[in-house]
Symmetry: C3
Subunit: 311 residues, 3 copies
């Protein structure tokens, strides 16, 4: 019997039920364990992944490609699909995805525009995974974030998780918070007023879980289990003075961690610039690089399930 | 005994005899059938393909790379070879191809200049396949076009094939018409006066097959078996008014197909912009996406024969 | 027992002892011989190489990738890492290399800045090979150069080797001369005054081997065993007249070779523009394309040793 993800697209984290997310996380743990013994599996031997990146994102692309190689499959890689003559000539994303469907068994697409993944999926005759469509969705990031929380803290239920930084534009915190709402968690949201979580999303979350909104980072750190840090970009502020006023309030230093909560798990979707000081890196709870590593296992699990290569 | 393509370059469709084209088409059919049962063959296990693209063409590149993976081989990919320092420093294409010959067993090159494939072949010590040299040649496109006609219509002999659109600059129709002239076909050429088939080529074709030139699309559609559509580009016209006068005369709509010839096979080298309406896509004769798919089988056949991996 | 290179970075040719260089050259010879019989080995089956190129260099990248495929491993390729959003956002090379360490077992990095390889190695948790950091180092080029000298001349000890052209800025001659100083060689350096070997390096070399500096190319050619040619770039001269005065003095023609030393081995790191005339190419001593081929064997040896896949 096929698993419920077989042949499916993954365009939004909302496409997945809690049971499906749990299936992916379980599968990720199994594949990670198998790969410790045997670096290359043959679950997807003969299957071809095409990565279509209309905007550059080396790490997301290479994470998927590494996952495919470890599953025994092959990869067709397009790191800058936007510059190709076909896109420039005005071909639709649906047509492009239909053509690539003849070359590959699975498409991973990144594109700067909202709903671009949906458009690709309409044309494609093979499953499409959204690897980021503008500020909209990046569902596999949410999966690897959940997998990281579970690995670092042993479970998701019962945790108090905080998100800090740009909660308005950051698609990772949007996708992750929607996913976390399947579990029994407390969510603290810490941001400058101009970068608060969109009210509609905050409202939806509050219907399912406890959500606190605050500007006081250290108080939340003292109380929470995991802190998800995102970068605040200068260009999000109309008035540069507003940026200068807040930029240092949300920098995680070793001193801050040690004085508030030395056991806290610290996550970040990366790249990090200076919102986490480098002397935090060797604290035991500094999980952000392990989090990036986990992308491989989460994506292996997703691709193996979509291509129905696991029972 | 080696097949007659073993170790050969393919720079122009005119390099191939009719028997050699038939060998490739037969091989393509066999490989397509084999891949239905077993997605990855091991005919080219241990062989390496290098794709050298001096201008971007994601689909042509990925089609070759998909073909190589399905044959069990490996791929070295250069999606934007023109920007590398060596090309910028003034290295010849012959030297570049000689160097790459040390890394790969087969080179597929795309380059914006006429005869660039010939230059690469002069330096290379491994076979070179031309994947497009400016407006000149794109021989594997002609092979997949022929393979598509044969699959869609059962045979090539006896068919009435029409080509519509830009017949002056479109290298695909030039290569395909030269190849079709090996068979007993009738060719109808439909284009605005400014974009007619080059007189020299039309003259050559007429010495071998029946060729009609016309501007009346619907009359030809009613009579022909397959229609090969190409895009008319605004920039080909000196006077924009000339473009505006013809652009809508050569758009294939569902209504046009159903009212003239519902059984017609419709082909297009893609990308399609608006010269075929999207509501044509689900007509049974709409073969253009299957045609793109066929690129993989035709290129597998060609590479397996050149590397002498089939009997 | 692991070999002494297992798990090591290679950032500079000076990281290697003479014994380690000899180990690599021996291994290269063995792997070249094995690949003549069997094009693809399985020494690195399941291992993944990531090539991170922050500046384009198709041939260096493809040489490493070809080597990895022949060893049975897989490749993640980033041909233009500098354009990705992470680098643009200000991520450090150390962070980037740490993230990629989760995707691959070995990183090959090219970057325009001096010491960039060192920075990557500080972050990476897997070995890093420097594939060029600005004008600083390109150690695998020196390895393939040594391998070529040994293959072409049977040994390195006792040879008289000349280097001609830009000895001031050319990193290849710097790395190679440092490596050659491990052997009993005579080195002749031929360049215009403005492009002489840096005095500090020349001084270091003279402490270990006999070094002659001269401007007289033909006298040296008559006396030496191998001539290593590098390109003189116009942009290195403040006054264009100085360039025009010397540019033709250092062009290797067939007549020059035949009149001075028909047996001489001629090397060049390529790309060659016009500093070696093309009619030299078919002389028996014209080794520069074989030299490029040797990059695959030298890099296979290095990667197999670093990943400890050979005894």
């Amino acid at each position: 019997m096929s698993n419920s993800l077989a042949g499916r697209d993954l365009l939004s984290i909302e496409d997945l039920s809690k049971a499906e997310i749990e299936l992916i996380l379980d599968q990720a743990a199994q594949l990670e364990e198998q790969c410790q013994k045997q670096p290359k599996l043959d679950l997807l031997n003969g299957r071809i992944l095409a990565t279509l990146f209309y905007e550059p994102s080396t790490r997301t692309r290479l994470s998927f490609e590494s996952a495919m190689h470890r599953l025994g499959g092959d990869v067709l890689s397009s790191a800058s699909a936007a510059k190709t003559s076909s896109a420039a000539k005005g071909e639709t994303l649906a047509d492009a995805a239909r053509v690539i469907s003849g070359y590959a068994h699975l498409i991973v697409q990144r594109h700067p525009e909202i709903l671009s993944a949906q458009q690709a999926a309409e044309g494609a005759t093979v499953p499409v995974i959204n690897a980021g469509d503008g500020s909209h969705e990046h569902p596999t990031q949410a999966l690897l974030d959940l997998y990281t929380i579970q690995k670092e803290r042993g479970q998701i239920d019962g945790l108090h998780i905080a998100m800090v930084g740009d909660l308005r534009y950051g698609r990772t915190v949007h996708s992750l918070s929607k996913a976390l709402a399947h579990w029994d968690v407390t969510l603290s949201l810490i941001s400058p007023p101009a970068l608060q979580m969109p009210p509609l999303l905050a409202h939806k979350l509050k219907q399912k879980i406890t959500v606190n909104e605050t500007e006081d980072l250290s108080a939340v750190m003292a109380a929470c289990d995991a802190l998800y840090v995102t970068r605040i970009q200068r260009e999000r502020f109309k008035d540069p003075a507003d940026y200068d006023a807040v930029k240092d309030s949300y920098v995680i230093t070793r001193e801050l961690v040690e004085s508030t909560n030395p056991e806290i798990t610290i996550m970040h979707p990366l790249p990090r610039v200076n919102e986490i000081a480098t002397d935090v890196d060797d604290l035991p709870g500094a999980a952000y690089f392990r989090q990036a590593d986990n992308g491989v296992w989460a994506r292996m699990a997703l691709m193996a399930l979509i291509l129905d290569a696991v029972e």
